[in-house]
Subunit: 740 residues, 2 copies
């Protein structure tokens, strides 16, 4: 990190830049999002670029509809999903679209609409106390939470910018003093805490205040937005850019909030670039915003859905409006990369500004088929300096049949973090196979607590047992304490990406006091036309006896288990009584009598089997969420639990896609797993080794070095009568031959 | 029905026809599906018609792959989903495709392949005893059930026809005597029962035997296929055409099996048309096969999925291979109706014969956008004479936003029938909202009983409680006796389709002894841009006290209930112990304290609320399938149960789609029902009347005549201080004004 003196100098230099910039271009309107000449150019090119035209038509439709309806700026009353909430949300969208249509067409009726509505807001806002549905710590004004107020400001500022020159001086004074200044004051003072937060709420707050400052020519607001209330750079937009992303663009709250933060990041950055180009905001931290958008896209499934790391609502994908902003502006600012364009064609929409114009033009003029977004195996560090663990994505297969294993060993993820160090997820053929529950929340659904996070988010979804990682003694990691969790992260032990054998291993010794965890995940594709298999080895050791629970929360229909189980057909009870266990119905219990247990599910057009080592004491449970849930706030999801007790334990699993199922053409084949047995060869401080015996007699040996992770290390190991020697921290052998 | 003498004469005339026909064209090969000239014409037009070309390429790919692989004709051993089952299935598909590719290209390697494989079958088949996985009553040979053997014969007969002329006389003798004759003998003698069945299995069996007869020139086989083993016309293909369909094309087993039967119906009909055109098979019963395919298509959701009436697997849609056969041939034989073509473009496939050629040509040459298939409100009678009840589909909205209410008051549906008289289903916006479970079966999944119907099909899926209709005293209709159920059907009381107020009413007094049931369903779309609402009124009366249970099995996420309920959060028990109740977890129980109870769910982009009358004794339960299911054979589905006791009862419900939800763009509005209260005005032998009071104070009055269903009847009624007079068996008034 930059030392303190250097940082101060840098800030002062920046502040000087900014003042200069705002004065220099302060009077040109509109400029923060779209300029008059952008508007004319768009108008001229509507018939040229289909995507531009449909986007314009959509905006015009919204604006035209608004013009014909009775304008309503109600006194705020309802929570999210309720009338006044939705009305104010629609109002800013209408103003935003009308402002753009005015700038593109010059048709004054749209400007009149925006001014009229803003004048009504300017009368209403000064009369408002805090929103009746507010939480005391973070009051809202037009909405139940200040975050939505920031949304309102961001979009309305763009609209105001569009009509600024058209409005009379008197109207401008009324709007500026009656609507925007009080709203910004409310953010910077009443919500001082949020405004100075290094968190997505803070990004929205700074963008709102900064964009307002740029529109109304108030440098003080711009400086506060860039450098925080105290203008010392400890908070504010620049600090958010520096601290929320790792050097490679991973956003510490996780992909769901990356998406949400990228809109204000990109929109304010675009505004700054237009008004204060000398700030070179898009170059900040070696183009951190470019890295951020690509990292966000890599963290999606092939259907565009963001991986549900930390709080996440699974509806969210790269189809969301936020990603239209981020991708279009990134395309225009960062070298017009054609890899982004296929996503835009799925979004079916571009921004109505110069970025969107460039995107629409590029798509129209692209020769041949657009390349699919290049999903790849990739890993990201976490933390501002990239030193707080990270996540790894192991991938194989082409776009349609892509298999992705996600492994999380990152920092806690601020207030939206889950207690899920060493969690893993599996996606295959576009489907979610091994899932993270995401968050317990029905966004904007009035009856579900106004769309807020539900109590079950904290009591279930954040808990360790809700994740595909080890829970010790039915407690969650870090004693379920956010502050403690935020001090720690797991550490990558080694990884190798891109070959036939891809692997990542990480260790953790803080999630549970006195317990050492190491998880190693392989994704191996033996032959080009074969499906890959995932090998999952978790080593746990402690000086004391514990209960270790490893659930796999799966999506799909249970087909069969290899072991005998007893289903609780007459009475169902929760699996436990605390730390998330109380939300889980224990549907069945079983044990294996042959050292291996397997569960097969059907998901989409493929079967999946989880096979695991199991001694006589290993217990299996079939899980379903929904117990202790008096308001039915949880989705009904299914899991497979492997429970072992002891000091040292090894969970060696193979997760294997296999066979084909097609209900339309009545094809089903390969519904049986190809694996016969998994044996533990060795498991000590130095080495972990397992043998996988396939039904076709093929044998794979998997060896992991636990004490030396150097890639140039040399290892020799005699185990169960066989002798192995290899280089680097792992090796996989097929029928005795190294397989790389 | 035709009288007996007339029928005999008719049969003799037919038999004469047939003999003549077979002799006349007996030696031309191929002819049953494709002719040499068809093949040449297809070859010539491949580059002209894209759909023809992709279909050909697909067939060629299958054939080419088969040619490069080791041929395997294994001794039958496995159940469905197992290797030998799938191998023999693939074998006939490979022969079928290779035979067609040979006929199209003249490339002999494809003919050699077919002949070689048939010769191996000719050696194997005579050595085979019954399949080891057979059921004693209906043994299979190559497969576990004779139905699959019939499948094999049908496809293989087409292949044999294609290579018949190319094969040497010696090869022909071997194949005919070693493969086809024994297989046909096996069907007609060992499976004499199935062969003479008026049932989809019988259709397949007759098509198999008849098509073989046409290929090998054996008139006796053709006659048996057409007129049954005794050639008296009581069974066989003609009788199947006459008895399985109602006069308007409804297939008595329900849409799932319509689809399955349409393939042999159309394929054998096409073969008969080609070999024995004077039979005019496509004209039979005023073109019953035309009516059948349109009726089948009307019985699909907008995504093409067949409505799950009776046994049904929900994967099945008009995208299935069977519907490719039926639609292409229907298009060619019945006037080339462009309404069918949009479905073909979704199927992305045409038949490789003259029908497919015509379809591909029509699509290529169609000017403008193809019309969507015209879904409409429609009703079908059931039974050969159309006198065994029927089903009604009330529909409103355009293709994308189509709302469909299905009402079943048909006959039992043979061996695949469910005990579900007066069942209703709701589809909206392409989604299943109120569902029928369908059947408990995982088609072809080896671990799930080899893909057979699972025990839970009979014990749960067929039971009355698994359906959205009234269950009395926790027993199923007709004492769950198929024979008794087959004697009865409900009766339509009245209906009116197509207007703003659509309605259907039916009565039943046999499903439960001594109990009179009448259900009336309205689908009302008040304004063009409003969502429709469904009003559901069930009147039940009995001289004795009973418990009446009305479940609504819904798809979607529970959002809220208007009444207080107690969720069984700590212990879950089944709802009952027999007749399907044992499979249902009782998740929660509640009562209303204001005479109305409502449950709101979220499904897709819309909310749905079921509002119902409820007195202090009315009990509500939240249901989930899965209890008493030791092998997890049931899907987990949710339901809302309304329970009332008494002699006379009225269940008056409104099912209302409302609001908008979009998780991508974060839109949620209108999540609250618009209804405040439902009141019963009157409920006696003559009239049932309810009043629906909306939150906006609007009041609807719904009146149904229970004793006089004449459309020209006049009614006057004084009830609760108001006086009503109207014509016809129902009226709906909005704020006192008749609304039609």
């Amino acid at each position: 990190m930059m030392n303190r003196l250097l940082f101060k100098t840098f800030i002062i230099a920046h502040i000087l830049c900014c003042y200069g910039a705002v004065y220099a271009q302060g009077n040109q309107h509109p400029l923060i999002f779209i300029s008059k000449s952008d508007g004319s150019l768009i108008n001229k090119n509507l018939s040229e670029y289909p995507l531009l035209n449909t986007s314009y038509e959509e905006a015009k439709k919204i604006a035209d509809k608004a013009l014909t309806e009775k304008m309503d700026v109600p006194v705020p009353k309802d929570p999210a999903g309720g009338y006044t909430h939705e009305r104010h949300t629609n109002n800013y969208k209408e103003m935003y679209n009308a402002g753009l249509v005015y700038t593109i067409t010059g048709d004054k009726k749209y400007a009149d609409f925006v001014i009229k509505m803003l004048l009504i807001y300017a009368e209403l806002i000064p009369t408002l106390k805090n929103h009746p549905e507010s939480k005391p710590r973070s009051p809202g004004k037009l909405f139940w939470q200040p975050l939505n107020d920031a949304n309102w400001i961001v979009y309305s500022a763009v609209a105001y910018d569009c009509v600024y020159d058209y409005a009379s001086a008197d109207e401008r004074k009324k709007i500026t003093d009656g609507a925007f200044r009080p709203m910004c004051d409310f953010i910077t003072t009443e919500n001082h805490y949020m405004f100075n937060l290094i968190h997505n709420h803070g990004v929205w707050a700074c963008a709102a205040v900064g964009m307002t400052g740029l529109v109304i020519g108030d440098n003080n607001l711009v400086q506060e937005a860039l450098y925080g209330s105290d203008k010392d750079g400890k908070s504010g937009f620049i600090a958010q850019l520096d601290k929320l992303f790792s050097p490679d663009g991973y956003y510490t709250e996780g992909p769901y909030y990356t998406r949400y933060a990228l809109l204000p990041f990109y929109l304010f950055a675009e505004a700054l670039q237009n008004k204060m180009p000398q700030l070179k905001i898009f170059e900040r931290r070696n183009q951190i915003l470019k890295k951020a958008v690509y990292a966000a896209l890599q963290q999606t499934n092939t259907n565009g859905a963001f991986f549900p790391v930390n709080d996440d609502i699974k509806d969210k994908s790269y189809m969301t409006p936020e990603m239209v902003f981020a991708i279009d502006i990134a395309f225009a600012e960062y070298g017009q990369d054609a890899d982004l364009l296929s996503i835009v064609t799925k979004q079916k929409k571009v921004l109505l500004n110069s970025s969107g114009l460039k995107v629409a033009e590029a798509i129209k003029n692209y020769k041949g088929a657009l390349p699919e977004f290049p999903y790849k195996s990739v890993e990201y560090t976490d933390g501002p300096a990239g030193k707080q663990g990270g996540i790894t994505l192991l991938r194989t297969g082409d776009d349609k049949n892509l298999t992705t294993v996600l492994f999380k060993y990152a920092s806690h993820g601020l207030s939206h973090g889950h207690y899920d160090e060493l969690n893993m997820l599996l996606y295959d053929d576009g489907n979610e196979i091994l899932q993270d529950y995401g968050s317990a929340r029905f966004l904007n659904v009035e009856q579900k607590d106004g769309g807020r996070y539900l109590p079950e988010n904290k009591s279930f979804a954040e808990q360790t047992i809700a994740h595909n990682t080890l829970t010790v003694d039915e407690t969650s990691q870090f004693g379920e304490n956010e502050e403690i969790a935020s001090e720690y992260h797991s550490d990558k032990w080694f990884s190798s990406l891109g070959g036939k054998v891809q692997v990542v291993s990480a260790k953790d010794s803080n999630a549970y006091k006195g317990i050492k965890l190491q998880r190693t995940l392989f994704l191996i594709k033996k032959e080009k036309n074969q499906k890959p298999i995932c090998i999952d080895v978790i080593k746990v050791s402690s000086p004391k006896e514990h209960q270790y629970d490893l659930p796999f929360w799966y999506k799909g229909q249970f087909i069969a288990a290899s072991f005998k189980y007893n289903a609780f057909t007459e009475t169902q009870k929760p699996l436990g009584n605390k730390n998330g266990y109380q939300y889980i119905w224990n549907e069945a219990e079983g044990k294996s009598d042959n050292n291996t247990g397997a569960l097969t599910i059907l998901n989409g057009n493929s079967y999946y089997t989880i096979t695991t080592t199991a001694d006589a004491a290993t217990q299996f449970n079939f899980l379903r969420t929904g117990a202790s849930d008096p308001n039915f706030n949880l989705r009904s999801e299914t899991g497979f639990l492997i429970r072992k007790n002891g000091k040292e334990q090894l969970f060696a699993c193979v997760i294997e896609p296999h066979g084909v199922f097609n209900g339309v053409t009545e094809i089903s084949s390969g519904s049986q797993s190809s694996i016969n047995e998994i044996k533990t060869l060795i498991n000590n401080d130095e080495y972990t080794g397992i043998k996988i015996i396939f039904k076709n007699k093929e044998e794979w040996t998997v060896l992991v070095a636990n004490a030396n992770n150097r890639m140039d290390s040399k290892h020799t190991l005699d185990v169960q009568g066989s002798s192995f020697s290899w280089n680097g921290p792992y090796t996989v052998l097929t029928n005795g031959k190294t397989f790389k």
